[in-house]
Symmetry: C2
């Protein structure tokens, strides 16, 4: 099992493109296409927000239609959310134009949009853009990068990764992924779009099970600002070209695939957390020895989401009281008098709190550790055997600046 | 019924003081005392955080002891939270010293602390401070103001108010209140301390019922940063000196008292929201015509708490998509296609969204309205008869600055 630089075009049989349509800006790639001529099975998860963008509503529908899938077309700039019947029409037009360009049917094409809510889609530039995306498809690494760049909005870095493992019979199985998202990100998906391609041969129901399991521990464990968006979409396409015997039960290859998918999604999730709007540092919260997994998840999410913890992290202030305070309102069960809190840097741990109270630690050393680009709060509840890990970032002046005038 | 300038010394028979003990700063009043020689009944609510500061744990205990109460002693600077057995000892010492100074017993004295979590109480300065507070008691308006100033932390304005109404027999009933709180404030109480005094004659159980009812619609409907603190305390003392016939059932005087208490608490809650850390503007969210009261509360709280809504409000950007998005993840039930959203300025309403979609409004006019010191988002769900109102503030650079180095 190895994780490496790569993207959606790394697995066998996938091509991609990213083009400039001019949706909101003149010189930014804003339409991405991911395609497999070989029919794919798909697994996906979507936003839990009650207000769902048009593409999300349609994707949920076609995910269940039992037809082989061929492509995902995505645009950045306009979210196609809160647009009523017009939004539905425009979204279907995107899928139809893509299907025409690729020679399949619209219900074999997933769509995804991200950007400003409540503004109409400029179909006069989007449709020509889709046409160009179809004829620009390529399977080189650069083509996958173009697609990854085309879905960026306030992202400052392009997020891609690949992973490979050997299945039985020395068959190589490859996964490649891309994602975008840096604001409106909160546990349970947020303004994040992510597509993972893989050449594994797998039953569609099992693929969906793997996707749901992995998303719970990765994308659903990051928070930038607690806002869950209308457009979150995560789609996995599997075309079977690796040539492994089709996975129809939870065997060793399935387990390996779940681990590989976890590594891909964790990598993308951490990249999104680190690229949180205005963020300067990556914060990881590891909750260990909790009573139940659910308690561990609640505690980890509350700490990673606390504005006060995030602002203190920005100031490199070891304000562990705010960590304990966030645990206290998390809704997770724990005994405050049993809690130990460490700063963890790789394998090194620096104890701040023992049994719910501060130990005699050095503020200087704690500040030095918190000044690093990535730091972990390790919270030991000493009250059970369950665990959870969450990722987030610091809260900075720039977060406010970016979101005070996003639309302008 | 009239609301006016006044504070905890305004009702008959109450005295107060605020003194400089030197807990964390040399020249800041940091110990407050509120006292009634006449025995009082009490009603109170406290933080729901699982991690409760020592004074909160003790107050919850003595609230139920059935004894008449005489005083509340409060300190700012150190929260006396996460201090284990030492915290319990120090808190009891505060109550005991106060009781000795006043000639009552420790279990007739409420305590409250606010400030840094996890640091020991400097009892060497606190106990002399309490002694001074006892001998400095006075019933002038200035004495009440001194107390209100002594509980301030990052507050930039001193928060007090009074209210008076006429009970049967032309008896004047008076309420006076003070509060502090500008960070770690979120629905369900936060780092807020508030004391309201009143000379009404009322049964203790009915007082508690009035307190719980009013808190739900006022203090629990404000949010500055979604962090619920370890120390939140709201205490009402009623000494009966107004001379009204003791309220033992929900008659007209009781209803008037609930309204007066609501006006006092709403005034203090709005002052806290407006004085949110780093805030420049007060935001009100009125949810109307919701299916149930619970739905209305969930929706109002989600919108007022959204970092994205708050940052857009700071930038005077009419980003209604973020309002609808926050509604969508609130957990409250509503039909997105029925929602109307207005900017409301006094009695004037400016329509932004009709039936879940933008109308053709002027961005310039919306920005002009959002630039005001106070603005209301009026959200009409058009789906029922229930309502709720919440208060909050904008998210600014200064919030980050204040919380990036609060302890230094």
């Amino acid at each position: 099992m190895r994780k490496f630089k790569g993207n959606v075009t790394t697995p066998k049989g996938f091509s991609a493109s990213g083009v400039i349509a001019g949706i909101r800006k003149k010189n930014k790639k804003d339409i991405a296409l991911v395609y497999s001529e070989t029919p794919c099975v798909a697994g996906a998860t979507f936003t839990t927000n009650k207000v769902k963008a048009a593409p999300v509503v349609r994707d949920i529908e076609i995910l269940k239609n039992g037809k082989p899938k061929h492509a995902v077309v995505l645009n950045s700039g306009i979210a196609n959310a809160c647009m009523g019947a017009q939004g539905v029409t425009d979204d279907l037009a995107m899928a139809t134009a893509t299907a025409e360009g690729l020679g399949c049917t619209a219900d074999q094409v997933f769509t995804a949009s991200t950007g400003v809510i409540g503004q109409p889609m400029p179909m006069n530039v989007i449709l020509p853009g889709i046409h160009e995306a179809c004829i620009s498809l390529g399977s080189a690494e650069e083509d996958g990068l173009n697609a990854a760049q085309a879905i960026m909005t306030t992202d400052t870095v392009c997020k891609t990764v690949a992973c490979q493992f050997t299945a039985e019979d020395e068959i190589e199985v490859t996964l490649g992924g891309m994602s975008k998202g840096s604001g409106m990100i909160h546990p349970n998906m947020a303004t994040m779009l992510s597509v993972v391609t893989t050449d594994i041969n797998i039953d569609e129901a099992l693929l969906q099970e793997a996707v749901s399991q992995v998303v719970a521990d990765t994308f659903n464990m990051i928070s930038v600002d607690r806002d869950t968006s209308t457009n979150d979409t995560f789609i996995v396409l599997a075309n079977g070209l690796a040539g492994n015997e089709k996975i129809t039960k939870k065997n060793k290859v399935y387990e390996d695939f779940v681990l590989a998918l976890f590594l891909v999604c964790k990598d993308l999730a951490m990249k999104m957390a680190k690229d949180g709007e205005g963020a300067t540092k990556l914060l990881e919260v590891k909750v260990r020895h909790a009573r139940t997994h659910e308690d561990a998840v609640k505690i980890a999410k509350a700490v990673i989401s606390s504005n006060l913890v995030k602002a203190a992290f920005y100031g490199s202030d070891a304000n562990w009281g705010r960590v304990l305070c966030a645990m206290g309102y998390s809704g997770g069960e724990f005994d405050p008098d049993k809690v130990d809190i460490y700063l963890q840097d790789g394998d090194d741990r620096y104890l701040l709190v023992k049994g719910g109270m501060a130990v005699d630690y050095s503020e200087e050393e704690a500040t030095r550790l918190l000044s690093k680009e990535m730091m972990t709060f390790r919270i030991n509840c000493n009250d059970g055997y369950e665990k959870a890990t969450a990722w987030g970032c610091d809260l900075t002046y720039d977060y406010v600046k970016i979101n005070g005038d996003y639309r302008s």
